[in-house]
């Protein structure tokens, strides 16, 4: 049985009359890479801050490794690497100085690992952070979050500002760390392509309400997309088959989304003479847009 690293129970958060989170219930299993998706203002960052104890939930409870986290639990924070969205760092410090400041608080800090990340991210050690680009600051935040071998890595838009090559390397590194065991990742991102590539579980949130939590595998099976070229013109009305949705097209060419039992849907479609039929992979972006529109 998988143990929950993060468990949120009936979380509510309000700012005056504005309800930022409504009855949020969530479990993140050990060793998973959990993608937390939603449009701007959905409550992703608020959720992350409540998990860390940086904000207090108006109602509800947060458990990390089964232990209740009310307000910045020191013991728990020692096990969590965090890459915040804003990523502001002390501009007058050098990376060496910031490492020297942070290191004493993590007994598991690995100097070799730190050196490795400095090399991998090509970060200068003695240059003022104020002179860094946004991407370099993100790299430094990642270095600080990973060098003590955290058990849980929480990242709010982790690859913001990273160039495609660094982003690719970083995602590789992340999946590698998780594969080695022990690390659980919770990330929110707008870059759905990378979430799709690395996450095994995805949650959708909108206006503070959790819409769905699903394994990526199941999510993709849930809906399939096929491209059909009929031999003769077929009116759209003829394709109003249960479980089939016309995404685009008319006449002979159609792009269809099929939900549920695909063989039944294909049987119905096949009543019209087909010239070509091909299955297209449905992307997380398509799923995300659909979920947000439906809700």
């Amino acid at each position: 049985m998988n143990t929950s690293v993060i468990e949120l129970k009936s979380i509510f958060k309000s700012y005056g009359s504005f309800l930022a989170l409504q009855n949020l219930n969530l479990k993140v299993d050990e060793g998973s890479i959990f993608g937390f998706l939603g449009p701007n203002g959905a409550g992703k960052t608020t959720t992350i801050k409540i998990i860390l104890g940086l904000r207090k939930a108006t109602e509800g409870e947060v458990f990390l490794w089964g232990e209740k986290n009310t307000r910045r639990g020191m013991k728990l924070l020692k096990r969590i690497g965090y890459v915040p969205e804003n990523g502001s760092l002390y501009e007058n410090f050098t990376p060496n100085q910031i490492v020297k400041f942070v290191k004493p608080y993590y007994p598991s800090w690995d100097v070799e690992l730190e050196k490795g990340y400095f090399e991998r991210f090509e970060l200068p050690k003695n240059k003022k952070i104020g002179e860094f680009s946004l991407g370099m600051k993100r790299k430094l935040l990642l270095l600080l979050a990973l060098s003590f071998k955290p058990d849980l890595l929480i990242m709010d838009e982790p690859t913001l500002g990273l160039d495609p090559l660094t982003r690719y390397k970083f995602l590789q590194l992340l999946t590698g760390e998780v594969a080695q065991g022990g690390l659980t990742v919770f990330l929110s991102s707008h870059t759905l392509g990378e979430v799709e590539r690395i996450c095994d579980t995805v949650a959708f949130i909108k206006k503070g309400k959790l819409l769905e939590v699903k394994l990526m595998e199941d999510l993709k099976k849930e809906s399939q997309r096929i491209k059909v070229v009929f031999q003769k013109d077929v009116p759209q009305s003829a394709l109003q088959i249960p479980g089939v949705e016309v995404l685009e097209g008319s006449g002979k060419h159609y792009l269809l989304a099929i939900k549920g039992n695909i063989s039944h849907a294909l049987e119905e479609i096949s009543k019209f003479p087909i010239f070509v039929i091909e299955e297209q992979e449905i992307s997380l972006e398509d799923i995300f847009v659909k979920k947000m529109e439906e809700s």
């Binding site: 801050k49 860390l52 940086l54 904000r55 207090k56 307000r71 910045r72 020191m74 013991k75 924070l77 020692k78 969590i80 965090y82 915040p84 804003n86 502001s88 760092l89 002390y90 501009e91 007058n92 410090f93 100085q97 020297k100 400041f101 942070v102 290191k103 004493p104 608080y105 993590y106 935040l141």
Partner: protein
């Protein structure tokens, strides 16, 4: 101890600048002495005494005794320039301490680290108080070698007493500005409100019946110049008030959400 290292990094240039500026101000008194001595005619002394009666705060009792080296140095440095400049220095160092973590956006980074709120706030408080102490000590006791160079005898005892009595006052002002810094997200607002609070504290100085309650009057150390001892009871009261202000700052800071 990482948090102390961080605070040291943030304050070291302020400390160096503070020592240089304050030593410069203090040495100005030594440099100006020969010129003031030539200016101090009996008529001028009489005029100063008359002014003293009308503006007892801005011109301390010892100021007219310019002919005595130690009285002159004490009254123009400890009783005047030092406490006035320290008030400005405290505004500069204390008001951004907590507010700037929010305005720079670094508070989130800081609070996500396993450093307790008490450690964060204590490090900020103690490192900067130490900075203040070093600035006062360096700029006051540089007067000793300067006196030797000027071939004057330096009364170390009264300066030690003056500094000891003044410190609780500086700590009180610092604690007040620190508390105001915890209340605001913006250093400029914290600075403005602290300046207003410092001004309010000066009001008893202008009312003869309440003058003894003035923290600035206390920092001037006129009693020491008059040959009286340090007022320990008042020092303890001031330090107790400072402790309450620090505890309140801690309470406010620990409730902050990022």
């Amino acid at each position: 101890m990482g948090i102390y290292y961080k605070e040291w990094l943030e304050s070291k240039w302020r400390l160096i600048a503070g020592i240089l500026v304050f030593c410069g101000l203090s040495l100005m008194n030594v440099i100006l002495y020969p010129w003031l001595k030539t200016m101090m005619t009996p008529e001028m002394q009489a005029l100063l005494e008359a002014l003293m009666k009308n503006f007892p705060i801005s011109i301390p009792e010892g100021a007219f005794s310019v002919l005595d080296w130690n009285t002159y140095l004490f009254s123009s440095w400890i009783s005047k320039t030092l406490y006035q400049s320290m008030t400005v220095f405290i505004l500069i160092i204390a008001t951004p301490l907590l507010a700037s973590e929010e305005s720079r956006g670094t508070l989130e980074f800081l609070l996500a680290k396993p450093v307790s709120t008490l450690q964060i706030i204590s490090a900020k408080y103690l490192v900067n108080i130490l900075e203040m102490i070093l600035v006062v000590l360096a700029s006051t006791f540089i007067l000793y070698p300067a006196s030797l160079i000027a071939k004057e005898s330096f009364n170390l005892t009264i300066f030690i007493k003056g500094v000891i009595q003044a410190f609780p006052g500086y700590i009180l002002l610092f604690s007040l500005a620190f508390l105001i810094s915890a209340l605001f997200k913006d250093s400029i607002k914290a600075l403005a409100f602290s300046a207003v609070a410092f001004f309010i504290l000066s009001i008893p100085s202008f009312i003869p019946d309440f003058r003894h309650l003035s923290i600035y009057r206390f920092m001037q150390g006129i009693n020491i110049l008059k040959g009286e001892g340090i007022i320990f009871s008042e020092m303890l009261i001031i330090l107790a008030i400072s402790a309450v202000l620090f505890a309140t700052s801690y309470y406010i800071f620990s409730k902050k959400e990022v």
